[in-house]
């Protein structure tokens, strides 16, 4: 318990340093643009591939598990749409990003720590926590909602292609289903969750990397911890946010 509180305290102090006023905003801007590419644009590929196949599987699973004449077939499209918007594109995609982006951040910052690059920044009088972490947080907070939108579109597209090619649903029924009883607030709910999860992934992974002590072995451990802790917190906050936003 004491260790947990001590870690929580360290995390809060680190965030205090991260959100202090930047020394040279123009350099932070450049760094943020770089992070947009590394953490955001470079994640489009994996999100697209996974979303496409998840959409396809959700459609097929829904179809095979609701083979009943009572259920109209357009409900397959509706089920696909709501599963993707409510859970897959925000939560599952965030878990995937925790693996890709989280480990990337922890290992990058951890390596900078063990190779004294962070010491070099501190020596120059640069607030290393802010310079290294703030651009990553800004980039993911702004870009992860875009990834979620891409995931929603591609996931539904995957569902439509799989459903129509396999013949479990007609194109007309699927399109009717994804338009049926659409609640726009679900998109807002998904975006709010995405922003929270983006903050968790970036800040927790940065924290793990920033306080690495040792060598390459510890960098690897920090990277693993970053993924594990981010994933657990995402799942925990998923429950809390769902209760708060949908109750």
């Amino acid at each position: 318990m004491i260790k947990f509180l001590s870690q929580l305290g360290k995390y809060c102090i680190l965030l205090g340093k991260v959100f202090s006023i930047p020394e040279k905003p123009s350099l932070y801007y450049k760094q943020t643009m770089r992070e947009f590419v590394y953490l955001g644009i470079n994640s489009i590929g994996i999100i697209t591939i996974i979303s496409f196949f998840m959409g396809a599987v959700i459609t097929l699973q829904t179809a095979y598990n609701t083979e009943n004449p009572i259920y109209p077939s357009y409900l397959i499209g509706l089920g696909c749409r709501d599963s993707i918007i409510l859970e897959f594109s925000s939560t599952v995609a965030a878990l995937i990003l925790a693996g890709k982006v989280g480990s990337n951040i922890a290992s990058e910052i951890g390596t900078m720590r063990v190779t004294e690059q962070i010491d070099a920044l501190e020596m120059m009088g640069v607030n290393s926590a802010s310079y290294l972490i703030l651009p990553k947080i800004i980039a993911t907070l702004l870009f992860n909602p875009v990834l979620t939108l891409i995931s929603i579109i591609v996931g539904i597209l995957g569902g439509w292609i799989a459903g129509t090619l396999s013949g479990v649903i007609t194109s007309e029924d699927f399109i009717y289903g994804i338009q049926y009883a659409f609640i726009p607030y679900y998109i807002t709910y998904s975006m709010i969750k995405t922003v929270f999860f983006a903050f968790i992934i970036t800040s927790v992974s940065s924290f793990q990397g920033y306080f690495v002590d040792g060598g390459s072995l510890e960098v690897g451990r920090a990277s693993t911890k970053a993924v594990v802790f981010s994933s657990v917190l995402i799942l925990l906050f998923n429950v809390i946010l769902t209760q708060l936003l949908l109750s």
């Binding site: 020394e23 004294e116 690059q117 010491d119 120059m124």
Partner: protein
């Protein structure tokens, strides 16, 4: 002038620095020597503020450095350059961007002036046509040179070097030593170098501090070091049997 008074530093229960008091001479090349694990790097990092001292005072001229807050320390840090043991170049930046980093961060010079300064610093350390290379594309000696160029890019008053020639062949090591000495004289910097390389001691040491088990065991010049009565220092300086024989025959 940099002065340290009654400095203690420990990690958990391990006392690494024990009541260190020393004054480093202004405008000179000051060396901290000692065996691996004797506390040299901890002393250097505590002086520059990367480690917090448990007790004691660190003075830069008339300013008590370890009592300052982050912002006040920043003003003095702008006058410091540091060469780290592993060079600590930023992997994601090119050679030019590495040297330009402190200039970008702390000056409002125009882009042309910045590039001019970067090229001047790189030329000064004999790095030519490497502006667009990344650190991973450089040899160990080149990395050290680029790190020196970055350290002097803001014309520092103080230069700190942690094992500047570790991992380098003897010839390159001497070239790096000579470069540091030349720069110290050229810019009238106060330079403090951590080393356990006796070539460096004999080549560039103007004032030498020997640390043994976290305490200062000896202070003097490179001329005095050979005639010292300090047993721990003699064990360190005359570590090999040939050197011991020469020392005994000179008595």
């Amino acid at each position: 002038m940099i002065s340290v008074k009654n400095l203690d530093k420990s990690f958990n229960d391990n006392m690494v620095l024990n009541d260190i008091s020393v004054t480093f001479k202004a405008g000179k090349t000051n060396l901290i020597i000692g065996r691996s694990g004797s506390g040299k790097t901890v002393l250097l990092k505590t002086i520059v503020g990367l480690h917090e001292a448990d007790r004691g005072e660190i003075w830069f001229e008339n300013v008590l450095f370890n009592n300052l807050d982050f912002k006040e320390k920043k003003d003095i840090r702008k006058e410091m350059g540091m060469l780290f043991q592993g060079s600590a170049l930023f992997d994601s930046l090119t050679v030019e961007q590495n040297v330009r980093f402190p200039i970008d961060m702390f000056t409002d010079k125009s882009s042309e002036e910045k590039i001019e300064r970067v090229n001047f610093c790189l030329n000064r350390v004999d790095i030519i046509n490497a502006n667009n290379l990344f650190p991973s594309e450089l040899s160990g000696g080149m990395k050290k040179r680029v790190a020196i160029a970055r350290a002097i890019s803001l014309n520092p008053k103080y230069l700190f070097c942690d094992e500047p020639n570790s991992g380098l062949d003897p010839l390159t090591a001497i070239l790096i030593d000579e470069l540091i000495k030349e720069l110290t004289e050229e810019y009238s910097m106060t330079t403090i170098i951590n080393t356990h390389d006796m070539n460096s001691v004999m080549e560039i040491g103007e004032m030498i501090v020997f640390i043994n088990e976290g305490r200062i065991a000896w202070e003097g010049s490179k001329h005095e070091i050979l005639d010292s009565d300090c047993e721990a220092l003699n064990d360190f300086v005359f570590a090999n049997s040939l050197a011991k024989q020469l020392k005994n025959s000179s008595k």
